[in-house]
């Protein structure tokens, strides 16, 4: 890629004033480095997956409200985690975490285990038990 052709599109980096470094060729065909503010195809890919995550969060929230899933489900999605990642953060087997997705099992959890989840999500046990419905 030639240096003049390096894209300078608006992206999520722009608002934090972050630029990324790219290798590109100068007018003599020699390599040099240059900064880019962003590139549209990447921005779209990123916003696409953010939409996807938001959808998952909304869905999980609805399931919690209709008592199909426990708040752990919702907070897991909110923190962009999946079962494997959450299980390793709380230090429990995956099948145990999966059980806690059920509201009935979640209701029986003791404070020690609830605290583990709360710590993994960076919230208090109180917040974990009562998710905000705004």
């Amino acid at each position: 890629m030639e240096k003049e052709k390096v894209p300078q599109d608006k992206s999520n980096l722009t608002k934090n004033n972050v630029k990324e470094l790219l290798y590109a060729t100068d007018e003599n065909g020699n390599y040099t480095t240059t900064l880019s503010t962003g590139w549209e195809p990447k921005t779209i890919a990123l916003s696409n997956s953010i939409d996807d995550i938001n959808e998952r969060i909304a869905e999980a929230k609805m399931q919690v409200e209709t008592c199909e899933a426990s708040p752990i489900c919702y907070y897991m999605e909110l923190n962009k985690m999946d079962l494997t990642i959450l299980a390793s953060y709380v230090g429990l087997w995956k099948w145990r975490v999966k059980r806690h997705f059920k509201p009935a099992n979640f209701a029986q959890l003791n404070d020690k285990i609830l605290k583990k989840y709360a710590d993994a999500f960076d919230i208090s046990v109180e917040e974990l038990k009562n998710i905000k419905t705004d």
Partner: protein, 332 residues
Amino acid sequence: MQVNFTHHQSAHCENGVASNLLKNNGLNISEPMVFGIGSGLFFVYLPFIKVNHAPAISYRTLPGQIFNKLASRLNLKIKRQKFSSTTNANKALDENLKNNIPTGLQVGVYHLSYFPDEYRFHFNAHNLVVYGKTETDYLVSDPVMETVTTLTHDELDKVRFAKGAFAPRGQMYYPIQIPKDVDLKSAIIKGIKNTCRDMLAPMPIVGVRGIKFVSKQIRKWPIKHGTKKANHYLAQMVRMQEEIGTGGGGFRFIYAAFLQEASVILNNEELKVLSKEMTQIGDSWRDFAVEASRIYKNRSAKEDAYNTIADELLDIANREEIFFKKLKQAIS
């Protein structure tokens, strides 16, 4: 407490940390050189592992490999340590800073507070250098950022002990021995040979054949998974490919820059020609990303569109196959 350390921004975190640490120790080596000698260019498709709910595609070797290979090829000694407790991890880091040693760390991205929110995913193979400590903060040189930055003590604990795949477990590393004269020539040749071997590997999911395999899979995605999931897979692929200098186009340009530098050191004109060819292949990777983004932007999935980009990918794979065969010959 602060150690003398010069920050240079780089396109990729691991090259950047390696290059910055070595420059700081008096060995002037550029980012492309680190990437080339460390054989950073790679491709592997792992459909049975899901990352962000899409099949994993990696354009790089395992975390730590670039620096390790570089070290063994240049006869450097690097010390690596992992920890089971945060207290010990902090003690070792503080000890290093006291001894004036800037230290490389493997960290998770999710809790890096200076990254834009949108970029904070559970990805554990990021690298940065810590070069100082104040009452409240650690002084951080993250090679993908333009300038140096800071993390609070708590935040650094969190990123060092992030969990999930490739959990860093507090890993820190730093060069302990650098020979006066390094033999760049033989290191470059070893690095190139290694990359050619990887990219031409006779395995269906690795290297050029891996790219061809993905191209075949892409054709099936819309039928097998439906439009929505297929679009999501494609968007993830482009993200892995082009995010923060990693993967497709970005890596090809770094590799081309390496070949250009290598052609001067080895006095080999052919490498210069190949460098130009690699640049063109890099441009094609970027074209592929543009075409792919058109598909997931419109959220429509004509089978045609998927076939078109699959053809494009196949073409790239074929060209890379020829390229790496030529490269292998050029240095033999």
